[in-house]
């Protein structure tokens, strides 16, 4: 009985601090608490990120200078933004495979619409946002109203968008677009004391992070997580599943649009820009402790995943490892990360998850009733879990 009543508390105790924990790690004298959190699947990514960053600094001390740290963040910005967009879709229990195609489409659109005419920059930005919203709406509505699995919908839109943009543009790279458009991705405020420059991309990333964290703590974000956890329960609770999920797809396409605009500055206009971005984004999100299938994970987790992945690539550039092994290491890391969080989470959360599922099945809101009901079922499933592990 004591263990049963302890579960809801332990759920709260685990989820609440880990959400704020990544932003406030600097506080406090609670070393044991830190250790426990560091071994947590979400904490381990932060530890991994710190270890990788330290390794880079050891190999290349100039990396620690503010200027090159800023350039590092600038380089992470597109993938981090795409990962944050993908986070909203994944946490609602869906996939967005069309992101890479959207990035490519936006980059190619910029190349062909802006050209060298600086005055076209602003109107074209509106066109890009329009394309982003349209793709998100199609993905979302086909998933929710037509009930096509999002994996298939976004696979289809990926083929359609990529094929259409290549058909329209002929699949050839153009010369770089107007300089003021490229400045969004590569420019910045110069002559700042201490860090000498702040790239616009870093500011865009900061704005996207703030917006995403704010959204994820609004009722919208909570509902999205609830839908990913158990969409039937969320429906019973009165949430508009179709509209919330569609919004998540729109956010995802818009984030791909923002990343595309930044990438025009970094990489220029080329049909290979954005290729494979959907898998990199999903890798980053998963690395950050967000669970495929939905219902668990945070924006900051996805962000940490993106930074860890890019830091890993940077580290590999500094070491003698051949560039072609980058994929292999990325593959090994994501399997290890997910396996680790799976094993730890399963062990730690086996019981609490049982009580949560009992909770949603009976749609009971009263915590005392829940713990009383879950008491008989908990030991049996816990025992089975031990056998399975």
């Amino acid at each position: 009985m004591t263990s049963a009543t302890g579960h809801p508390q332990s759920v709260r105790a685990q989820s609440a601090p880990s959400r704020s924990g990544q932003s406030r790690l600097g506080v406090g004298d609670r070393m044991t608490e830190w250790g426990r959190r560091a071994l947590d699947p979400k904490g381990i990514v932060v530890v991994l990120l710190i270890v990788i960053l330290l390794a880079i600094i050891v190999l290349n001390p100039s990396f620690a200078e503010p200027g090159s740290l800023m350039r590092f963040i600038q380089r992470v910005a597109p993938i981090a933004i795409v990962a944050i967009g993908q986070y909203f879709v994944i946490v609602s229990g869906e996939f967005d495979l069309s992101m890479g195609a959207v990035v490519t489409a936006q980059v190619m659109t910029v190349g062909h619409l802006v050209g060298v005419d600086e005055s076209k920059t602003v109107p074209v930005l509106f066109v890009l946002v329009g394309i982003g919203i349209l793709v998100g709406l199609i993905n979302g509505l086909a998933t929710t109203l037509l009930r096509v699995p999002s994996f298939i919908v976004t696979l289809g839109t990926m083929l359609v968008i990529h094929g259409a943009i290549m058909w329209w543009t002929g699949g050839v790279a153009t010369s770089n677009p107007a300089e003021n458009f490229r400045q969004i991705g590569r420019g910045g405020f110069e002559n700042i004391p201490l860090i000498d420059s702040i790239p616009y991309a870093v500011l865009v990333l900061a704005a996207v992070i703030l917006l995403a964290v704010w959204l994820s703590r609004r009722p919208f974000g909570r509902t999205l997580t609830a839908i990913g956890d158990n969409s039937a329960a969320a429906t019973f609770a009165g949430s508009r599943v179709w509209w919330t999920k569609t919004s998540a797809f729109v956010l995802s396409s818009l984030s791909a649009t923002v990343a595309g605009v930044l990438l025009v500055g970094f990489a220029g206009v080329h049909p290979s820009v954005g290729q494979g971005y959907e898998f990199t984004a999903i890798t980053a999100v998963v690395l950050g402790g967000v669970v495929l299938g939905g219902g668990r994970g945070t924006v900051l987790g996805a962000l940490t995943g993106a930074f860890t992945l890019e830091a890993l690539f940077t580290l590999l550039n500094f070491t003698a490892v051949p560039a072609t092994m980058r994929d292999a290491i990325q593959g090994a890391i994501i399997i290890a990360a997910v396996a680790y969080s799976g094993v730890v989470f399963a062990r730690r959360r086996k019981r609490s998850r049982t009580s949560t599922s009992t909770n949603s099945a009976t749609t009971s809101a009263d915590p005392t009733t829940t713990s009383a009901e879950s008491a008989p079922s908990t030991p049996s499933t816990g025992g089975d879990g031990a056998v399975r592990q």
Binding site: R147, M166, T235, T283, V286, G331, G342, A346
Partner: protein, 354 residues
């Protein structure tokens, strides 16, 4: 009337419709879709994707995915071509070695998914990336040489029907038999439908999933062998160029198999593969822009699966209406169908037992 047909029948009706429309379109250009040469082209186009899709059906029935197939195919083509190295006597050892290596990769996928509890998407993406890293590091271009005796496998045929397609259909028949008639097949459906329910019913739910992953990798290996036989060499990029991972998943779903596992059939998948092959051939004959082909493929995937998804819900209601306490179950089923199709199977299991 359409509602009473099962999804597989619907897939073949769709295939016939595509064939009729295709024949009319092709005849407007003064050619014949059903000329022996063209039939041969369509069937040849089916065989490689067919092998991959048969394996992909197995893992999808088990509620997993296999994104590593393109790299398994490339690796298989290289292994085979290098082992054969132009010698007739090495054909059989090379094929056996390829099967063994691909089975090991499948075993790794299966163990990651079941024992370590890694989502199939992540596990096979990770294994695929590892294989890609290995291939990119160790191979700069095509290698090995396939002897003429093995090239015949990809090149010869009986009348307009290529040998490779016959082998592919034979494999489909064997796998279909395994799925429908053996314990392994039943357990795979059960574990894919709902692993928890399967486990509580006394099924060792991990074994069928591991078996499905091994089957998928070996099937991808067969596809790699076929490609090696056609090319005459092994190539490190032959799998990823064809995007066989996503296309095979699309073909499986087009064939009416539910992406969340537990429901579907091999013959549906073969129908889906055939639809893709006919469309591809049609667009080639009509001289479509290659980029426009992707647009058409993408639209076909979304529209077809949207039609199935709509129909499948109706079909389920009819099945439940025949059960004694139908209305209750329908009431339970509806919110599930709104959100997560994967949980429908739970309802089915409980419904059939109630």
């Amino acid at each position: 009337m359409l509602r009473r047909l099962d999804t597989t029948a619907l897939v073949y009706i769709a295939l016939i419709i595509v064939l009729i429309i295709g024949a009319i379109l092709v005849s407007t250009t003064g050619r014949n879709l059903f000329s022996p040469g063209n039939i041969r082209d369509i069937l040849t186009g089916m065989s490689v994707l067919g092998f991959v899709a048969i394996g992909q059906t197995l893992v999808i029935l088990g509620a997993s995915l296999d994104l590593s197939v393109p790299y398994v195919m490339s690796l298989a083509s290289l292994t085979a071509a290098q082992t054969m190295d132009g010698r007739d006597g090495m054909v059989i050892p090379a094929v056996l070695l390829t099967v063994a290596i691909t089975a090991l990769i499948g075993l790794a996928n299966g163990l990651f998914v079941t024992v370590l509890g890694v989502h199939g998407f992540v596990a096979t993406l990770g294994v695929g990336l590892m294989l890609k890293g290995y291939l990119d590091t160790n191979y700069q271009g095509t290698e090995g040489e396939v002897p003429w005796s093995f090239q015949l496998f990809g090149a010869s045929g009986i009348g307009p029907i290529p040998i490779s397609t016959i082998v592919m259909l034979g494999l489909a028949a064997v796998v279909a038999f395994i799925l429908v008639r053996t314990t392994f097949g039943h357990h795979l459906f059960a574990a894919g439908g709902n692993a928890e329910v399967a486990r509580l019913s006394g099924v060792r739910e991990r074994l069928p999933i591991i078996g499905a992953h091994i089957g998928s990798s070996v099937c991808a290996g067969f596809a790699g062998l076929l490609l090696a036989s056609r090319l005459g060499v092994g190539s490190p990029t032959v799998g990823s160029q064809g995007t066989y991972d996503l296309l095979s998943i699309a073909a499986v779903v087009l064939g009416g198999t539910v992406l969340m596992g537990g429901r579907g059939s091999i013959w549906g998948t073969i129908g889906g593969v055939a639809i893709f092959a006919v469309l591809d051939n049609l667009m080639s004959v009509m001289q479509f822009n290659p980029f426009l082909k992707d647009v058409v493929r993408g639209l076909v995937i979304i529209v077809a699966v949207a039609l199935y998804a709509r129909r499948r819900i109706i079909a389920r209601r009819i099945r439940f209406a025949q059960a004694p306490q139908g209305p209750n179950i329908v009431a339970v089923a509806r919110p599930d169908a709104d959100g997560k199709p994967g949980q429908d199977s739970t309802v089915t299991e409980e419904g059939s037992r109630a």
